[in-house]
Symmetry: C2
Subunit: 347 residues, 2 copies
């Protein structure tokens, strides 16, 4: 199944909190439950969150008892607010919700039922197009990978982070499918271990060679010449090319540049926020300290210990070799080339 | 109690594998058990390993049934080999074993019993002097800490990593004891979580303010101006000032320099290996993959996943602001000033 699916008026999500131990599917029937699932990271990964939020808006339409277009739009605005607040950093959530609101307020609709149907149709479009976009990114990005390369990868950016296929891991997959032999060093990605739990699970299922490493070990492997390139995703990219992504990305990028290792972010244009001049304007979510103080329910620090838990960091654009989108590979100057990429022009 | 103690012909160690969950003390009666305890990380931290190995040699003397000086020396050589192989990176182990062998082969001894007694005396000297050395490093290092500073700290370098007091954490402690208000960001230090488990436990017991962070978050805090200095220990320092230390140190050092954050290694001169020209010559221990694939006994990756687990990395000397030893603060040029430090000259 896809990471996010629509079935008979409900949204089905692979519950990513329990992988790789258990494969559970959660079925949600109203937008509040969808917002909670996003906040609790049942589903994560910027593109997957975007598609889930789009379906959440479709559910908001279905569950609303509005009779008129006006009442429907008011209900949708309220649902949009709830979804929007679930997680602040990834822009795809806001992007999808905004697109659904635009669909709902199209002046052509004369009844609430027309809006209900349009929201479901449009959610399907977003989801289907995400898969197609990922395959395009994979094809572009695979040209950056040579036969025999070792790729360092952070967090999870695979099929589970999108509707299907994946962003940065989609590039790995495309390279593998084209017959290149690749090996992946999988940053385990504390605190939530998306690398060890999810990326390793996906790579194993795909039959791609990998080793899990502690995040701390990435520098050692780069300094000793054992890494050919680094691939990460993105949760929000500012107009100047600064990338907000999973905590730890910034450290990786600095150490990659120090060692002359190419560093690429792979993300759909829906992740690019041209309204933000720089990464300094991206809100950084701080998640509960328990994510740091426990691992799989087991406490790892003394009782009463406190923790700080920023979920993302910002990598300034100067550390990026290029950004891969569905429209091609944007090299510096990123401010110019990202804008062209968003506008679908040749970069 | 001290991390390492001698009691009636046995070595007592705080079993650091179970902290902070349980405080257990292991009592060892022969040098093979001591070597195993070092390998299994019952005791860890370069200075603590050094003192433990010294006592291990004393046990080897006691357990040997040698009657003559020659037989005794042969037995001690065998024990030295076993201890030596327990962990390859920290030089303090080799240093302590070598010192004990030198004690044993002193031409003044005419009986095996004299050697037995000398080894015990000398192990006590090494242990007592470690505590004194740590206090001296604390006093020197505390001059680098300002009132109100936030200190980023990696791994555990506290009383548990030494016989008592600590190296880098000894500096934090000395600053705190002198009335400076400090706050510590504690890198949890995967894979074995020495930061979350041991450093947090020590800081809590000392009443020093701290927050545990995922190792991934250190870059974010440095880039956003929330770190005043970084303090780490060392497992081996080459003649040119390259520092082998817990995996992750290198990444921290690179990111610290990139952000203009001072980066100090705190270590006794017994950690400095003047016979090694550079860090490239330091053997890097690779530990079992299970340390990465599990946390506190809980698997965190899919079944059958493989992992790489280098326990240390090398930080080239150019990233270090200074190295603090019991003889003072050695600034660059480190090749010259470390040698002076070892020789006890004014730096």
């Amino acid at each position: 199944m896809r990471t996010v699916e629509w079935q008979k008026g409900s949204v089905r999500l692979i519950d990513q909190r329990w992988l790789p131990w258990e494969f559970q599917v959660l079925e949600l029937r109203d937008p509040t439950a969808v917002a909670e699932a996003i906040r609790d990271m049942v589903v994560r990964g910027a593109p997957a969150i975007g598609a889930t939020a789009a379906y959440g808006m479709a559910l908001a339409g279905l569950r609303s008892d509005a009779d008129s277009v006006e009442e429907m739009c008011a209900d949708l605005e309220a649902a949009a607010d709830r979804l929007h607040q679930a997680r602040p950093t990834a822009v795809n959530l806001a992007w999808a919700v905004k697109r659904q609101l635009a669909v709902a307020t199209d002046p052509q609709w004369t009844s609430a039922d027309q809006i209900r149907a349009a929201l479901i149709r449009h959610a399907h479009q977003i989801a289907d197009s995400d898969v197609e976009i990922n395959r395009q990114m994979g094809a572009h990005g695979a040209t950056l990978v040579q036969d025999g390369d070792t790729i360092l990868h952070h967090c999870n950016t695979g099929a589970l982070a999108a509707v299907d296929y994946g962003t940065a891991l989609g590039v790995v997959r495309a390279a593998h499918e084209s017959g290149k032999r690749v090996h992946v060093l999988v940053d385990e990605t504390r605190p939530r271990l998306q690398g060890a739990r999810l990326t390793a699970w996906e790579l194993k299922n795909l039959g791609i060679s990998f080793d899990v490493i502690a995040d701390n070990a990435a520098g050692h492997f780069m300094r000793t010449g054992q890494v050919d390139l680094v691939l990460v995703g993105a949760d929000r990219i500012a107009a100047n090319g600064d990338v907000a992504n999973k905590i730890g990305t910034y450290k990786l990028a600095v150490v990659a540049r120090e060692n002359g290792v190419p560093f690429y972010s792979v993300a759909p244009t829906s992740t690019i926020d041209l309204e933000l001049p720089s990464g300094d304007d991206i809100p950084i979510e701080e998640r509960p300290p328990e994510e740091v103080l426990t691992v799989a329910g087991q406490s790892v620090a003394p009782e009463g210990a406190s923790a700080r838990n920023p979920a993302f960091d910002v990598t300034p654009h100067r550390y990026l070799t290029a950004i891969v989108t569905e429209n091609g590979i944007a090299y510096p100057p990123l401010a110019r080339n990202l804008r062209r990429s968003v506008e679908g022009e040749a970069i």
